[in-house]
């Protein structure tokens, strides 16, 4: 692509408008990749740290005029190469834009900058007696990154995903113009929803510099049930019955013993139960413990009738930590257990979950590739990790491609989508093209062109 290289005068100008800018050897190696180095390592020519909408506007206006690509980036915890500077140019780090501007308890919302970490938002919301419901596993991700990938997380089944919580935003267009959309309003039927277009756009349409997010009153009580089963298929059979029981779980996760053991090893701690090969982890919230006790009894009976070995109750902070700390470390634990890995984040209709996991088992045996999985049984979103282990590079690439193709083809046949919550980036864009077809991709490219005619903003991503 005919982009201009970052020259001396560009460096001088960018340094004059930004707080900090790094070039050459001063750029930390981390900025060349996200969590998945398997998708390639690409060094930006300059890293520009910004702290305000005005600075972002000035950088984009300049880059647009000069034809220099700009890659926006938060914490770099993505899994599809979305925040990697494929064509060099400017890496626009928004991590320092991390101020929470206002908690509004009357309008149940928070206004903040995109660099605020998800863990900070969660903690601060609780401190203000409110809750930010989306709960993606990677708590050190920025909220800006979450919005840009429409991150989902474990509470999606009850509370929805990031998209459902974006009430308003300020964004800088690739030409440097600033737009403000939505606000502290609950309803909004005012024209095309540009907010929804920007959410999940992976930094390809505009750079979000301020967000207003919906919060909800903090539930009084929350607890989890850890339910051991003799097999994953038995556990999946229980899921629709739990969902139909009007108990309204906030999370329905599935996990297998191998992944739990990997997390134990990674964290150096012991999970409270390892008696079974498969588990469901259910979470419920409500106003009182008495209310939840009724729920526990109801759900526990359903699980036992579906063949659960027992139902364990996690009702204190310590118990929750003993489970959720391990659950939160699954990705890192699998990563540490192997030499390299690839990931598939498909989402299938919930009724197809068992069939899809059977396919995963079959592929593991037929291709001789170690596969590890966990995910959201309640919403059909699976995370399947392909582990290289001791395979040679060529063998790994061959087997990995074959397994990935099978996973995505089967997902499509079952009515699934290629990404439930991690996004597309550049790593999955060819699967997206195959999945959506020419017309839909042409529409997406048209939208991209409308926002970014010179294609300077995060080029090579999504479509």
């Amino acid at each position: 692509m005919p982009y201009n290289k970052v020259a001396e005068q560009d460096i001088d100008y960018l340094r004059s408008i930004a707080d900090r800018a790094f070039i050459g050897a001063d750029i930390h190696e981390d900025f060349s990749h996200d969590e998945m180095t398997i998708y390639g390592v690409h060094m930006p020519e300059i890293v520009v740290e910004v702290k305000s909408t005005e600075q972002v506007s000035a950088v984009l206006k300049y880059a647009n005029e000069r034809g220099i690509p700009v890659t926006p980036r938060g914490s770099g915890t993505g899994l599809c190469g979305g925040a990697v500077a494929l064509y060099g140019g400017i890496l626009l780090s928004l991590a320092q834009m991390d101020n929470i501007i206002e908690f509004d308890n009357d309008n149940f919302c928070v206004t903040l900058q995109p660099g605020v970490l998800l863990m900070t938002l969660a903690e601060q919301s609780i401190a203000h007696d409110m809750m930010y419901p989306p709960e993606p596993g990677e708590k050190s991700a920025t909220i800006g990154g979450n919005v840009m990938t429409n991150a989902g997380g474990m509470r999606a089944i009850k509370y929805g995903v990031t998209r459902d919580y974006v009430l308003g935003l300020t964004a800088v267009l690739p030409n440097g113009n600033v737009i403000t959309l939505g606000g502290k309003v609950v309803k909004n039927s005012s024209g095309y929803s540009l907010i929804d277009l920007l959410v999940g756009s992976e930094g390809t349409l505009a750079v979000v510099t301020e967000l207003t997010l919906k919060l909800i009153p903090l539930p009084g009580v929350s607890l989890s049930l850890l339910v051991p089963f003799d097999s994953l298929s038995k556990s999946f059979n229980a899921v629709p019955k739990i969902l139909q029981s009007r108990t309204n779980p906030t999370a329905v996760e599935f996990m297998q013993r191998e992944v739990i053991e990997a997390a134990e090893q990674y964290l150096g701690l012991h999970f409270p139960d390892k008696s079974a090969p498969a588990y469901l982890l259910l979470t419920f919230d409500g106003n009182t413990r008495t209310e939840l006790d009724t729920t526990i009894d109801k759900v526990a009976e359903i699980c036992l009738s579906c063949g659960a070995n027992d139902v364990f109750i996690s009702d204190t902070q310590e118990r929750q930590e003993s489970i959720w700390k391990a659950r939160g470390a699954f990705l890192e634990a699998i990563k540490t257990s192997t030499t390299d890995m690839d990931e598939c984040d498909v989402v299938v209709p919930r009724t197809k979950l068992a069939s899809f996991m059977e396919l995963v088992d079959t592929l593991e045996t037929s291709h001789g590739l170690r596969l590890r999985s966990f995910g959201h049984a309640g919403d059909g979103n699976l995370h399947i990790y392909l582990c290289k282990d001791g395979l040679s590079e060529s063998e790994w690439e061959k087997r990995c491609a074959a397994v990935m193709d099978s996973l995505y083809i089967s997902s499509a046949q079952m009515g699934g989508q290629i990404s439930g919550e991690h996004g597309v980036g550049h790593a999955k864009s060819h699967y997206l093209a195959e999945s959506l077809g020419d017309d839909a991709i042409a529409l997406m490219r048209g939208i991209k062109h409308t926002f970014d005619p010179k294609n300077i903003l995060n080029p090579g991503k999504v479509c």
Partner: protein, 262 residues
């Protein structure tokens, strides 16, 4: 083998008001839970039950609502539960609490091993366990991090001293207070909850104990005077080495070894 586990109901949150006159925690109206450190004691007892066979009794002192943690102990696998509950026990400090528990344990009788948690999250003294043993005149070891093995007449445990690990053999009857993380506590089981729904919880009052002198119990039996209760300052201890002058790796290794991380 008969094992007793001393457990306590504590506030479920750290946001607890304190009575300005007595320095006693105001527990009314706040959620409660089993002292997290006691879960390790109970888990230790249940592991020993699995390994060598034992009858596990959970015992607590508290108001009637503290029966909830006995029920929880049943859900984790305890065989029997006892609550020492009497308004005359209220407001007890370490001395009166340990004296009351020791009285209850004597009344029940026949325990080979008494297991306590390291400390509670409300009182934080870490003294009740050893004090019970003193009242009962039996040997005790605190800070137990490993149960090495059980013998017919004694138990061998590893004790975590400040700068060393000590292996101790102790004859029954005896008392140990165990460290956090000696085992990962199991979660309460719904099947056990169903099984023990109507299981009896024995209640002992002052009238059941051998010493009937009211002045030895509760607030009147508590010589501790609380002068001031405050939250400690967060610690920010740290060490900085200039690794151009010294071998940083060696220093780090020594520190990790001293702190027993390796």
């Amino acid at each position: 083998m008969k094992i007793a586990v001393c457990i306590k109901q504590v506030p479920g949150t750290m946001q607890v008001d304190i009575d300005p006159d007595t320095g006693v925690l105001q527990r009314a109206g706040i959620s409660a839970k089993m002292n997290p450190y006691d879960l390790y004691a109970l888990e230790t007892a249940l592991r020993l039950k699995q390994q060598v066979g034992a009858h596990v009794t959970a015992i607590t002192m508290g108001p009637p609502q503290a029966q909830a943690i006995i029920k929880e102990a049943y859900m984790m696998g305890a065989d029997e539960g006892v609550i020492l509950s009497d308004t005359r026990f209220a407001g007890a400090d370490v001395l009166a609490t340990s004296y009351t528990l020791a009285g209850g344990l004597s009344k029940l009788g026949g325990f080979d091993l008494i297991i306590c948690g390291k400390q509670t999250t409300d009182g934080d003294t870490a003294q009740v366990g050893p004090a019970i043993a003193e009242h009962l005149n039996i040997p005790h070891v605190a800070w137990v991090k490993t149960i090495e093995h059980m013998e017919e007449k004694s138990i061998v445990v590893e004790q975590n001293m400040e700068d060393s690990l000590e292996v101790v053999r102790m004859s029954y009857p005896c008392l140990i207070s165990v460290e956090k993380d000696i085992y990962t506590p199991r979660l309460p089981s719904y099947l056990n909850k169903k099984k023990t729904r109507n299981k009896q919880i024995s209640v002992l009052t002052l009238d059941d104990l051998s010493d009937q002198s009211e002045e030895n119990y509760g607030l009147s039996g508590s010589p501790t005077q609380v002068e001031r209760v405050f939250s400690p300052q967060p610690r920010d201890d740290h060490t900085t080495w200039d690794c151009e002058q010294v071998d940083g790796a060696e220093l780090l290794y020594d520190l990790l070894a001293t702190e027993k991380f390796i």
